[in-house]
């Protein structure tokens, strides 16, 4: 049974065409109780049933009270070096030039280097900042000023050591394309507060993204929930502008005729899908009206623009512009805003690379946190920062590839941080060994962090499931994982 189809149609049917005054919960339990396939899905059904039949992304109640109402996920694609930013390892400087003992390396496979590569010391100075005295690299001067907002996890680890699969794991819970992404799960689970913008928006700056469109795919979830990538050339949302020559009135006139003829057909054949289409065209028209206003930074004051370093239309400031746009999307009720910045894959000259990326991102990231705080939005906006894996304590050098003083991919240990809605500020969690190679304290897996993000939005990751081909799928996979309690606000 196609549950979604059933739910959608039944909802459309009951709510719109039949007008039966069935209680929502009663309907849900009716369906859940009588359909074998619906077992264990009662809650999602209740959530679905509560939705407006014409708006599949309308807000739905979460499993429990949510601390955060939306997410801005700053995805640092390419994998920033934790050893140059957050996880200071003076021991590496001491050992620089010597190989690590095989007992440390064990069977780890690497993308480019051989396991006997020599150690590379940290490239930057670190200093303590904020009330908690958090150690941060000198290339993060702006973040240092807001460090008390952050919960930092130095003990992240992942299963995959290649970009595309590792990015997919972060976004969809699986390294193989085809699963629903986190934003789609959220849109499916709790809908969106925006009715004139997509529930899940993807922004991008920097270089190429390895994971591709699978990272914002709705997978086997209804495709209404797929992420909408904003384009940096032309329309931000594909085809959101009227075609050349059509003014708003021409568009409205056209839509009126379309609506009238569709309504005529609906009256004749009775298919509720026609009503849905009428509604979709109206929402499209609202989106057309909303998009230009959204993209226009003219309403932002000069101080705000300067705080972010945002300069509309300037490619070099694309990340800063996207951070500001993310805030504007958050204000307009978009549920999940993913801001990708690619360019952290520093196989060579990790010092120069990290420095350059920080120049592009550090100020805007700190500004986003400040701005959200100033507007009273940080309390219910969850901000996540991190890459797909970490980088090796060992040096990468290759004559064939012309590389030196770089670091290879390292899945065993890396750093991420979270801030805002649902997060306890000022926490630093977990630790790695003195080489920064292995996690030695409080390991946090990708799925644990995903569970944490869902938790902040009021969702029990074990209960947000979707039945597909006879199985109940969830974002966090079949193994046992838990939200990271230590960083959650009480």
């Amino acid at each position: 049974m196609n549950l979604h189809e059933l739910r959608l149609r039944t909802r459309r049917h009951f709510f719109q065409d039949c007008g039966i005054g069935l209680g929502q919960v009663a309907l849900a339990s009716l369906l859940a109780g009588q359909m074998p396939a619906a077992r264990g899905l009662a809650e999602e059904q209740a959530a679905e049933a509560a939705a407006d039949p014409q708006r599949p992304t309308a807000p739905r109640p979460a499993h429990f009270a949510a601390k955060a109402r939306r997410v801005i996920y700053l995805f640092m694609a390419g994998a920033p070096s934790q050893l140059e930013l957050f996880d200071y390892k003076p021991k590496l400087a001491e050992l620089e030039g010597k190989p690590l003992p095989p007992s440390v390396i064990k069977g780890q496979r690497y993308a480019f280097i051989q396991p006997d590569a020599a150690v590379l010391g940290p490239r930057f100075r670190f200093a303590r900042h904020g009330q908690a005295g958090v150690e941060l690299s000198e290339v993060l001067p702006h973040l240092a000023e807001v460090v008390d907002e952050l919960a930092i996890i130095r003990s992240m680890h992942t299963d995959l050591f290649n970009h595309a699969p590792a990015q997919l794991l972060w976004n969809t819970g699986s390294g193989i394309p085809g699963r629903p992404s986190m934003g789609s799960w959220l849109s499916y689970g709790i809908g969106s507060e925006a009715d004139d913008l997509p529930s899940f928006v993807v922004l991008k700056s920097g270089g190429s993204l390895s994971g591709g469109a699978a990272m914002w795919s709705s997978g086997f979830l209804p495709s209404t929930h797929q992420g909408v990538p904003f384009r940096d050339q032309g329309d931000p949302i594909l085809h959101v502008s009227n075609p050349a020559g059509y003014d708003t009135r021409a568009q409205r006139d056209s839509l009126d005729v379309i609506r009238g003829l569709n309504q005529r057909r609906l009256d004749l054949v009775g298919d509720p899908e026609i009503a849905t289409r009428i509604n979709a065209y109206e929402m499209a028209f609202r989106m057309q009206a909303r998009a230009p206003e959204l993209m226009d930074f003219a309403a932002e004051d000069q101080a705000t623009l300067e705080m972010y370093g945002a300069k509309p239309g300037e490619g070099g400031q694309a990340f800063a512009n996207n951070c500001l746009l993310a805030r504007r999307l958050a204000e307009r009720g978009v549920r999940f805003i993913q801001v990708y910045h690619a360019g952290w894959d520093h196989h060579s000259d990790v010092a120069g690379g990290v420095k350059a990326q920080c120049r592009q991102t550090d100020q805007a990231v700190a500004a986003l946190l400040r701005d959200l705080r100033q507007r009273g939005m940080l309390d219910d906006t969850l901000v996540v920062w991190g890459g797909e894996f970490g980088r090796t304590p060992m040096v990468e050098a290759s004559a064939a590839l012309g590389r030196s003083q770089g670091r290879d991919h390292h899945p065993q240990a890396f750093t991420m941080w979270l801030a805002g809605g649902g997060i306890r500020p000022g926490v630093t969690l977990g630790a790695t060994d003195e080489l920064g190679f292995h996690v030695v304290e409080r390991p946090v897996h990708v799925h644990d962090l995903q569970a944490t993000i869902l938790h902040c939005l009021g969702i029990d990751h074990r209960r947000l499931t979707f039945k597909f081909r006879g199985l109940n799928f969830r974002l966090t996979g079949v193994e046992e994982h838990h939200p990271v309690r230590e960083i959650l606000a009480s």
Binding site: M1, E5, R9, H13, D17, L31, Q34, P36, A37, Y110, A111, F161, N162, H163, G175, I176, S208, G211, G212, A214, S217, S223, T224, V228, R231, D232, D235, L238, H239, S241, P243, G245, Y246, R249, A250, D253, S254, G260, L261, N262, R264, R265, L268, G270, D271, E273, R277, A280, Y281, M287, S398, A399, A400, L401, G402, D408, K467, R469, G470, L471
Partner: protein
Amino acid sequence: MLELSRAIRGLACCLPLVLLGAPPLRADDLSFVRDIQPLLARHCFACHGPDEEHREADLRLDQRQAAVDSGAIVPGKPDESELVRRVLADDADQRMPPPAANDTLTAEEKELLRRWIEAGADYQPHWAFQPPVRPPLPEFDGLAADMNKWAAWPRNPIDRFVLRRLLDEGLTPAAEADRYTLVRRLYLDLLGLPPTPEEADAFVADSQPDAYQRLVDRLLESKHYGERWARLWLDLARYSDTNGYEKDRPRSAWPYRDWVIRALNDDLPFDQFTVEQLAGDMLPGATIEQRIATGFHRQTMLNEEGGIDPLEFRFYALVDRVATTGTVWLGLTTGCAQCHSHKYDPISHTDYYRLLALLNNADEPDLQVPDPRVVERREQLQREIARLESELPGQFPPADGEGPVDQRRAANLEGKFAEWLEAERPRAVAWKTLRPRTLETNLPRLEAQPDGSIFSSGDITKRDVFRLSFTLQEDATALRLEVLPDPRLPAGGPGRAYYEGRQGDFFLSEVSATSDGQPVAFSAASHSFGKISIGSGSADAGNVLDGDGSTGWSTAGRESEAHQLVLNLAQPLPAGAELQLEMLFERHFAASLGRFRWSSTSAGGQPRASQLPVEIEDLLGRQPPTWNDAERSELRRHYLRVAPELAEARRPIDALRKQMPELPTTLVFEERPADNPRPTFRHHRGEYLSPREEVAPGLPAVFSSDAPPADRLQLARWLASDRNPLVARVSVNRAWRALFGAGLVRTSGDFGTQSEPPTHPELLDWLACEFMERGWSQKQLHRLIVTSATYRQDSSVSEELLRRDPLNLLLARGPRFRVDAELVRDIMLRASGLLSDKMYGPSVYPPQLDSVTALAYGNTPWPQSQGEDRYRRSLYTFSKRTAPFAAYLVFDGPTGETCTARRDRSNTPLQALTLLNDAMYLELARALAERAVGEADGAPQRAAWMFRRVLTRPPEADEIAVLVEFQQRQRQRLEAGELKAEEIGGPRADAKLAAWVMTARVIMNLDEAITRP
């Protein structure tokens, strides 16, 4: 299936009963399949189920006999049953599931178990695992008088099953749809294209009683039938034109896509269709076509990201093949058994890897497709080149002096040739082929060829090591390594690189040697050509001696050519010495050599790598120079190819060589040789890095078979046979879904114990039997379904019926649904008159903004097709996995990343924006309007003309009035200068035309335009 248990029937009915407002199941109506099996599966099978490895206390509860024998269940006596005692136990040591499992049964569940055992502990095999049995056709004798007329309603047996169910539910079928609806429905369903108004009118005007039948027959014979149904099959095959993952580079797979179209048009029986796709390479005397068909399982993704472990991603591709095979031919989700025994369906962890092993013994080469047009062109060019080469001597400059010019020319050629021989001979070195005594590697298999070369096959890694040993037949001062082309290698070799680097590339990092246990030192190295792909590093010959694995030698860019590397020994080795050579290939992608040959020489004077082909050098180095005629002419031929005097004369030959078209390639399976099978292991928790014991190929135990398949071909034959209880049901269900918008089993692709039961179980089985007995003909199956009265019903729905059966489970009306993504565009293409009929060949690029693919890795361009390729059927659109064609994705088109048995059918604002504002559709709206203005006179006629092109049926007067009024209003605005005609209608458009363009756009945006009525 007659014995279908009451329980299953009850289950099948329960959903409609609920939705139709009937009372819910009575609480005491226990069903094993619905109530007990999932409970046992969820709470017990992990330790007491099919998985022998994790079975505790040697107890299994998934089989009745075993459960009874063990005393866990005493039928009829719950209080004597150990199972009941244990689940009710208060003592934590006794209680099941154990408290540690944190998996306590609820009181309700415990009570269910108790009552089930009390009632006899009846086990019921899952219906889908029992072979379908042809059920008797429902009869309609003795209907109530007011219902009696319905007895005549059935047109074929399908209708009897549907009608029986309807009457049982107190419903009756809908009237037959009107003829315009029928003709549009048939065209869209069978061809994926709307009829032209003329085609529709011809059918409507055809008053013969067999008009419908003849239309169906005609459509089934249309070449567009294969295009329409191929797209559905390609969803399952996860077809794409790119490799997927990060780099997502283009691949050549379209010959497989074309094979599918042809096979469907030829109505290749489904069993043969299956065998050829899964194992065409293993058929005796396999044809090229049958080998192309094996592309089905080569549509998996290929990760070309730098630094991946290629065998890890091969494993994932294999896992995908098992999952896809399960979905397509078994209707089963096998995926979970990758990590542990299936919790619900009887597929154990080991079963899974046995099935995987059946698919795991193939190599994955590219096949050159002898496209006749390309073959002919190549032969033509080769003849031309041979002719021009034979004329070269006649173009040699004549010597100065007296006499006929031809004589002087010949004399000059012979003189210069002799000079060349004299110059080259002293430089030529006599090399002697070293024949290996032993060949060892980390993984690939090396095999000595008759010519002394060594060929590598099997799997390769990012760090391959070849260890060879030789006995020197003569003193050696230097060693020569030839890297050799071979048609079996990617791009013709000499390397085996197949991803990330150039196809056919290699990277020789190091060569080291020992003799009789002592290291052998080299004094110099030289090569005939060196270049590496990816990266800025040098390809110097000396790199192979520098002890640094990250430097090396390669001949990138000169694939399918022979080159050589010469290593000079610091000290000569004596004849009879044992020589061990170690070759290391270490790169961020797998790049070991595919074919190579070692030789030695005793020549002094520090020989260096020669630019001469080895055969020529051999002849030149021969002492004394005694050449027969053939050898002499070979030398002469070579001389003509290098003589500076002929540089100008050779220019046209070089130009022709550049024009030589490559044969298209496609991805195929090739079963490994019997003496080099690939072992398959069970992978603990499904992890690539955790192989455990080796497993033998075989079917899951639930499919017991007299002749269990032992290889891929036998698997294919079993899968598409009546021995597989699922395949016919799964196949007819797929056809039903395509024609009715939903399957008889709604969970297309899942027929396992967790699936939704069929809405019409007897009909499903009847169709399955019919399909097999009609020789697995898909066209006959489609004909059968579309000629039923059930299919021909009107799709409009009353509020009352909608309330009773919102999902149309009972088929009391015809289905009405939005067409698939590709059809949305194809409808508009055909309506506009721009649709190209061109079939087959490389995929094309309809108009799309660059910003779509700009999001993909490497800012990929979208080279918009011009001319007729711009308007080809959407099936031929280039499919890029990481940036799918946006106008299809928005309408739920697949990405090609996984097997898609069921597309979503969403209805969203982004679809509205696409149809309203995408320039691709605006172009079609212009074409439609231009034709309307040319074809029809008068505003109502023009509006009607466009209306019918898009929607088929004649418009009603009020519809025309609305459109004409719209057109006139827009025309006034255009004429008033409020809107610009040329912006809307194109550079030559006047206000009138522009207003018609706007009207065409409105029609194209009606719900009905993209709906199969």
